[in-house]
Symmetry: D2
Subunit: 338 residues, 4 copies
């Protein structure tokens, strides 16, 4: 894959921008959340999970975020540090903002929901002054999470980071990561996610997220139309996810691909996307071909939905390769050219 | 004790107004909160704990509050209902507000702290329209928690409930329950807590809370001055707490009392006040003498600081009496006339 | 009149608290505001007009307020200073807040309306820190305008000033001065205006304003009930205005009075109340009898509705006496014992 | 000039988006604003002035805005209607927002300042739902004023209008119109103005405004760099104004031009820009050459700074041509190729 040029001689491989939060997962599964009485605490938040996933795979990972100035902020910063992630640009909030929380309800492998604390939380306080041009330029890639665009000042901080990445020739990944919370209207979502998507080299999102993004553009809602629109702008790769039926991947130069999920027994309905993103991006940056990278993304997604946590259960390279070998031996290929 | 007339023929004995929240207490004690990985969930919030405490002792308890419109709101409402508390005036929030959360850190029996989620939470949304004159009039007593005064619209809802109680001749208990969160300035605290205190029949608070209340009044900071000021207004009883050294209680007609704590081994540094309030008020309303009521308050406080939870561990009448009998046998009296 | 003891040996006679604003009155009368093209500018705001009115009559007047930090703030401060009003406690806003504006529409002597700019204006920024105990204690009287209670932080500043006045034995005048703007609900109005009214020595308001104040108190809406309620609290005098048909005045010791308006040709429908308040309070403080003070209030009200401006046209003692002499010669008495 | 294709067969020639406000200009000139006592009222706001200017010159003009739901909203809407401007997409505010106000101080022809009321005003309430795709598509041109980007929701409404214009092939004019009010930070200004500028066909702004726009782009602050950057994006024409020394105009295909001001005696220091924009755009759309259009812009600017009002004094075609003829006879050419 040589469409996008990642300069791996830089100090960092990737800097995700956005949400660091905490997941509280009930230890008593298959029960409504209002009846759960005991919870485990994990580092959470989509870009934070991706950061951990990529660090586990050996990437040099940075992070641009605000965290709470309390014990929870200490927990997540310590967790990152222990994973080898650079925390030099994770700042504490100054007005008592709390870290975002996600309480998960796992009624069954196919029914799960989340209860979020997102009102005025720490990650939304990332502000333009936190964004350092040199830091952005020191990375081979910038990943912007859609949630970081949902309100001010994190929105402007993300747009400033994008501006600096474009100036320095740093490739940009846009992970739609749509959460209904905090956004004020459908038009706002469409306006800001499309603004970033049209300047990104890689766009990752679910079918629903692409449709939200394109709401004002008059497209027909098909993957083909979405991909055609984006590939005419800056994007070289579009990953469009369809939940349990897998994903469709369109590239400017390397063809189109159908990615099937590995047939594992899911424990929960979330976390798969962050596994996908981290293994896919790692492989792509490591120089693997697009189908190879997709296979790794699909494997990591399968491993994550089968485990209790997200961040804690991100696979190492060895675990990932073992999983792929074993699963392919049993079920065959999951990547097909379209 | 006949200074305050509680009409126990009314449908309810007491209606606390204010905070219903959730406590997350780590199961791994004596460790900093940032290192805790597993938590138990309990119903929390000072007036909610008092409601549970009094219901356990046999009182007919109502509640006036707003809770979140999610699984946590369901949990607390179900919990109240299971304790026999009337939930007819607990309303769901309409704009996605979350329930307040308290994460506790129990480093040691003498060192504990809390990390609170209080920004825009459900209980602060209680509004004047939620306050029903007939409901207030249907109770033998109204308890207003100081936290319910910290911001609008719960402040105005509380003041409206106070107005209705005064009109209907319902005695009012003011529990200072000061939490630094959400209040905008020291002057605001002084203004609103003193406004309610000067119309309350019973005032309960720590020495620090009385001093905050009196900040603009030019008193000298002594218990004697605080009590003299309040007893000249509407108050018949002032309970001034001094942490581990016990409390001083001043009454208009029944003398002054020194209340010593029962010498238990504490597990945590909080919850005692809610145990105190519930057992003391229950006994007073049941017609016991002031020193009898204080003994029960002190006993309940001791039982609570020795247990892991607050709401869950509120004692029954029988447990309370057993505790008092055993402790007094070992250590003697704890209530002394001044 | 000796029911209220005003200590005129103090440095100031009165300190009004609240609104200083600007009135823009069209020079082309009897035309809808949307067609007016030329405007005169005057100092405005009810307590500011009263301050000017009392200063013209010879009182030593202070003021407690915030004004804009721009040319309009300079204008009103200079205007006050030129009238001999003490401006030592008029502070400039620090975050760019503008002065409130009132554009008046005078369609006919009986039809006038106003268009107000009140959103986040300077006078609403008066905060508890602005309230100095010594300043309050240095005055023979404190006047609180109802508008100063409509939102935070001016609400808490007013309540703090009230607390200091009560501590220092300074008599309090409450002028209801209700403006729908900025208040959040009918319950808020009732709660805060009644809180101040029940501690005031003199209450002045229209029939509508008294009814708003009493909304949660279960009174029957009659002047008799309003007066009876207030005179049982702290009030010694209640002035209840009925627009063009005059006002009813109830006192604790000096009887009840019917005050008829002097039959002048009105130019506009506002400003009369501020004239009334300033002349009435001046006379009362100067030691005149209640009916004498009311006659002067009624005369000043008549003079104001017949003039183009409010502040600019406040009468001197001589003008007031001439007016009373001439009008009484023509029309006879306007004050009647009930 | 055929670089930009304006489809004049459409129902409208231009739709400005943004600010409609009111100017109060003192009738007593050369005096500090705090001493001014009488004011004339005019329709104001940069895009509103441009709309009036272009309508006077014969263009079919629409407008997209929110105005106050009061007599001032009626005044501006009536004024537009009387000028022949389409007011079908001017909506009234629904939550009592006031129209923006500008009080001008004209100390001398070279010293003037303004005092603005911009807090939460009506024009800032324009929201995405107000933006109708068909309406945008019905115009030969869309003009976005920088002030409309300063806060939400007018920011998102403007970006939505931009999206629709791009979809429908409607050329876009970006008039920087920077006002410090309401913007939260320098980075915000740079981010949003550059986002619109990079998609606009014509960019108009002062040297200062271009520098604010480019703050994050690493340009050197010269007109050449600004123009080179923008002309590589979507822009065909960049107008960079230098106050009294005139403006520099860069085009993709029609060369670069130095525009000198006509040497008139100025009465005030503002309004010139709106005159310039309206006459320049009208001429350009009417098919005149770039230098011809610039000459007309410069003439209109000169006429405006010499008059008391802005909107009221926009010239007709005849007045403009007379002015140019007379001035050129006296002083010669003002447009020079670079």
């Amino acid at each position: 894959m040589d469409m996008i040029s990642f300069d791996l001689t830089k100090p960092l491989h990737i800097i995700p921008v956005g949400r660091v939060a905490i997941d509280f997962n009930p230890t008593d599964y298959n029960r409504p959340l209002n009846e759960s009485t005991n919870f485990n605490r994990y580092l959470g938040g989509s870009p934070a999970n991706i950061a951990v996933g990529m660090a586990r795979l050996g990437d040099r990972v940075g992070f641009l975020a605000r965290v709470s100035d309390d014990q929870f902020g200490t927990f997540v910063t310590d967790y990152f540090r222990a994973e080898g992630i650079d925390v030099s640009h994770i700042r504490r909030c100054e007005h008592g903002e709390n870290l975002g929380l996600t309480f998960t309800e796992m009624l069954s492998p196919t029914q799960s929901s989340i209860l979020m604390y997102r009102e005025g939380v720490a990650d939304l306080q990332l502000c333009p002054d936190d964004v350092d041009e040199e830091y952005i330029a020191s990375s081979a890639c910038l990943l912007i999470s859609g949630t970081a665009l949902c309100t001010s000042p994190t929105r402007e901080a993300s747009l400033k980071a994008l501006t600096f990445a474009l100036r320095s020739g740093v490739p940009v990944v846009f992970d739609a990561d749509y959460r209904a919370y905090t956004w004020k209207s459908m038009d706002e979502i469409a306006i800001y996610t499309s603004l970033v998507a049209e300047k990104a080299d890689i766009i990752m999102g679910s079918r629903e997220e692409f449709s939200l993004m394109e709401r004002l553009l008059g497209l027909d809602g098909s993957d083909e139309a979405s991909a055609a629109y984006s590939l005419k702008k800056q994007a070289k790769i579009c990953v469009i996810k369809h939940g349990k039926s897998g994903s469709r991947v369109y590239s400017r130069d390397d063809g189109c691909w159908d990615v099937k999920p590995f047939p594992v027994t899911a424990l929960k309905g979330f976390g798969g996307g962050d596994g996908y993103a981290s293994s896919f991006l790692h492989a792509l940056m490591a120089g693997r071909s697009l189908p190879e990278a997709l296979e790794r993304g699909s494997a990591s997604a399968a491993m994550l939905v089968a485990s209790h946590a997200c961040s804690r259960d991100m696979p190492t390279e060895e675990a990932l390769e073992n999983f792929i070998r074993e699963e392919k031996a049993k079920y065959g290929d999951v990547i097909f050219a379209l």
